[in-house]
Structures are given as structure tokens and as C-alpha cells.
């Protein structure tokens, strides 16, 4: 589809400072729709901060982010966000959690919630509270919450960490399916090997800047050689 290839996200001279520490030191980038991006780098490189800035959770000290021509907060309906904490209530079941978050997006009725839960291969009728799930199940349920409102753009921060191989594979399969359907996917991860062959582009960050963008999973130092 011609839509999917147009520039969806534009980051301009993005600087993010936390007191004396600059997490992002001038990031300039453009991202097209319908692609699968993986963001890599050492701890402290600024990956999480960049993702949070795109989600509208971190306000730029300087610079701008434009998502579909709007600010991240204005574009919130088109964004699905997931992080290492589950963003779910431990004391409620998966379905109860999703029912509540669906309300925040103006979605009534259980169908879409059940559908989202099934899409991550979990059982909508499970009454066990989320706090008792395994890490893999919890991350999958968190992903269900992120995709519940059918967003155009997915922002996932370390979705696979501490997750069992099966759950990770299920999640990758779903994300691939979504990219194929025209969604834009961003994944920050240390486990890039999971996404080899699935991702369209690997983005390398270091010291608060993007240092390289490659279609293949090759580290910048290897390239320099």
C-alpha cells in the first residue's frame, strides 16, 4: 500500500536532559510507516528515552517529535506502548484489566478485549490475577493491552526480557503479522537475534545519538572493519 511507505515519524534535533545527564544528545531521524524497526545499543545509550519521547511520556528538553504530523500526545490513539513493567493491575484478571483499559479508549464490549488476548495466545476466560502469571504470560498480556485499540504504531521497550522462549516466539509472530498488515513497529531490545529476518531495519544508538542504521544485524564495529 502506498500509505505504508510514507514518512510517519520525524524526530528533529531531539535533546533530553535529566539534570546533569543528557540521555539524548541531538537525535535526527525519519521513520516510514509499515516497517519493523529494532533499536539497539548499550545501557544508557538513550533507547528507552527515545521510545518514551515518541510515546509522549518524556518531554523533550529541546527539539521536536512529529508523529503522523501531530505531537505524540495528539497522536495517542495511534500509539500502542509497552515496557518492561507490565502496566497492568496485578490484582485483576487479564480480561478485567483489558476491559478497563478498553474504556480509556472508548471501546465498550468484551469482543475486542477477548480478541486481543487470543492474538497473544492467551485464554480470555482465565480468571487468575495477572500478578500470578509467569513473566512470559504477563508480557504477552501487556502486549495485548498495547494492541487492544488497534494502533497504527507500536512502541515496545524490552518486551522479551526475562521471557521464556515460547512466549517470545509468540510475540515475535504477532508483531510480524502486524507489520505485514501495515503497522509500524518499534522494538527496543538486547535480544536482537530474535528479530533477525523479521525486522526491516536495525538502529544503533550510542551515547544519546543514533550512530548507524542497517538493514542487517551487523554491529557498527564489525562494519568498520
Amino acid at each position: 500500500m502506498t500509505d505504508a511507505q510514507t514518512t510517519q515519524i520525524v524526530v528533529t534535533s531531539l535533546i533530553k536532559q535529566f539534570g546533569r545527564f543528557a540521555a539524548l544528545r541531538g537525535v535526527d531521524a525519519e521513520f516510514s510507516g509499515g516497517k519493523f524497526y529494532v533499536i539497539l545499543g548499550d545501557n544508557g545509550a538513550g533507547k528507552t528515552t527515545l521510545l518514551r519521547a515518541m510515546a509522549g511520556l518524556a518531554h523533550p528538553t529541546r527539539g521536536t517529535i512529529s508523529i503522523l504530523g501531530k505531537t505524540p500526545q495528539e497522536a495517542c490513539r495511534e500509539l500502542g506502548y509497552m515496557a518492561h513493567p507490565s502496566l497492568l493491575y496485578d490484582e485483576m484478571s487479564g480480561m478485567e484489566n483489558l476491559r478497563y483499559f478498553a474504556r480509556l479508549y472508548g471501546i465498550t464490549g468484551d469482543d475486542r478485549c477477548a480478541q486481543a488476548i487470543r492474538s497473544v495466545r492467551l485464554d480470555p476466560d482465565l480468571t487468575r490475577p495477572v500478578g500470578q502469571y509467569s513473566q512470559g504470560m504477563r508480557q504477552r498480556m501487556s502486549l495485548a493491552r498495547a494492541v487492544l485499540h488497534d494502533p497504527q504504531i507500536l512502541l515496545l521497550d524490552e518486551p522479551f526480557s526475562n521471557v521464556d522462549v515460547n512466549s517470545a516466539r509468540e510475540m515475535v509472530a504477532l508483531l510480524k503479522h502486524m507489520r505485514d498488515a501495515g503497522k509500524t513497529v518499534f522494538v527496543v531490545t538486547h535480544q536482537a537475534s530474535l528479530l533477525e529476518g523479521v525486522a526491516d531495519e536495525f538502529i544503533w544508538m550510542q551515547a544519546g545519538q543514533i550512530v548507524n542504521r542497517t538493514p542487517q544485524l551487523v554491529s557498527p564495529s564489525a562494519e568498520a572493519q
Binding site: C76, L87, Y89, D90, R103, L104
Partner: protein, 225 residues
């Protein structure tokens, strides 16, 4: 603003459901309130005449302590697993969250007051010499005064160190005119000495002013990182 109302209602019912499921929090708060009444009774043990003069002050100071305990856990569940991020990223209006939390706190603190007030009456042999029905608007307006600002400052405290001490530190100075009004009104009604009308009107003014301020500024607070 039907979405505001439906999200507020959904959030309030979710909170009540969660509170009901883990009743330990309420139980310990109820017990704490009982302890406060008992300790006050040991510390201030006057005969009936004097007790009416200071009962207004005693009751409301006791309510204030109990309210702080309740207010400090306002956002506890949202902090765990960073659920607040999920709310911020959604299109749901910030005020819906605020009103739901404030109402939830109002119900909780009223519950504590409903336990403490009869105990005070028993320990102090209290009987209203003035129009006792006026105690109801005083209780409602006074409780709302504490709860509306308390919920707001609890959210502010989320971004600070020493969160639990920060809340009373911010709340007490601002609450001084409200506390004075509650105490004076109660003293007047109990001793039948004059009209509490001025204080009730001042309480109402306080409530209107600060409810407006909270609704106007909560979004700013919520979106602060």
C-alpha cells in the same frame, strides 16, 4: 462529556473492586483510626463541659491523621508496574482519573470518619447543643476539602523523594483555613454558641476554589515525568 463520566465511573468502580479484593488495606486503616481515637481519649480526658469546646478540634485532627494514611496510598496501585504510563499514553482525560481518585478517597475517608465519630461521642459523652443536622454539611464539605487537595498533592508527591512525608508537608499549610473552618463550625454546633453559617460558607468557598484549581491543573501534574 459522556466519555469523562464513563471513564470516571469505570475508574471508580475498578478502584472499589480492587480495594474490596485486598481488604487488608482498609482493615488496617480502620484499626489505625480506632487507635487514634483511643490515644486522643487518653491524652485529653476532660469533663463534659470542656470536652465540647475542644471536641471540634480533636475530632478533625484525628480525621486529618486518618485521611493522610488513606491519601498516601491513593496512587500506590498505579505506581506498581507503572500503570500510570498506560493512562498517560491513552486519550483518556486526566480529570476523569482525578475525579475518580478523589471520589474514591472521599468514600474511604468518610468510612473512617463514620467509625471514629461515634467512638468520639461515646468516649467524650458528646451531645450537640446546637442544630446537630448542620454537622452533616460540615462533615461533607470538610472531608471533600481534605480529600480534593490531598489527592492532588499525592499526585505531586509521586515525583519527589520521601513521598509519604511530602504529602502532609504540602497539604497541611494549604488546608489551614479549611481545618479552622471545620473545627470552629463543629465547636459552635456542639456548644450551641452562635451560628456556624459563616464557617460553612467559607468551607464551601474553599471547596469550590480548590476543586476548580485541581481540575484545572491536574493534567499539568499528571504529565510531569
Amino acid at each position: 462529556m459522556s466519555s469523562l463520566r464513563s471513564i470516571t465511573l469505570a475508574t471508580l468502580t475498578k478502584d472499589i473492586r480492587l480495594e474490596w479484593r485486598s481488604r487488608d488495606a482498609i482493615n488496617s486503616m480502620l484499626f489505625f483510626s480506632l487507635l487514634v481515637v483511643v490515644i486522643f481519649s487518653f491524652s485529653f480526658d476532660p469533663n463534659a463541659e470542656e470536652s465540647r469546646e475542644i471536641a471540634g478540634g480533636l475530632i478533625w485532627v484525628a480525621f486529618l491523621f486518618a485521611a493522610i494514611v488513606a491519601l498516601n496510598q491513593t496512587w500506590a496501585r498505579e505506581l506498581r508496574n507503572q500503570v500510570l504510563d498506560a493512562y498517560r499514553v491513552s486519550p483518556a482525560p486526566a480529570n476523569a482519573l482525578f475525579i475518580a481518585k478523589a471520589l474514591g478517597n472521599f468514600i474511604l475517608v468518610s468510612l473512617l470518619e463514620a467509625l471514629m465519630a461515634p467512638l468520639f461521642m461515646i468516649f467524650y459523652n458528646l451531645r450537640a447543643l446546637g442544630p446537630a443536622w448542620q454537622l452533616i454539611p460540615v462533615a461533607i464539605l470538610g472531608t471533600w476539602a481534605l480529600v480534593v487537595n490531598g489527592t492532588f498533592f499525592a499526585a505531586m508527591s509521586l515525583r519527589t523523594r520521601s513521598r509519604e512525608i511530602m504529602l502532609p508537608l504540602l497539604l497541611f499549610p494549604i488546608s489551614i483555613p479549611a481545618v479552622q473552618s471545620m473545627v470552629e463550625a463543629t465547636r459552635i454546633i456542639l456548644s450551641g454558641d452562635g451560628s456556624a453559617r459563616f464557617w460553612i460558607v467559607l468551607l464551601l468557598t474553599y471547596d469550590v476554589v480548590f476543586t476548580t484549581a485541581c481540575l484545572g491543573l491536574f493534567e499539568t501534574i499528571l504529565q510531569a515525568e
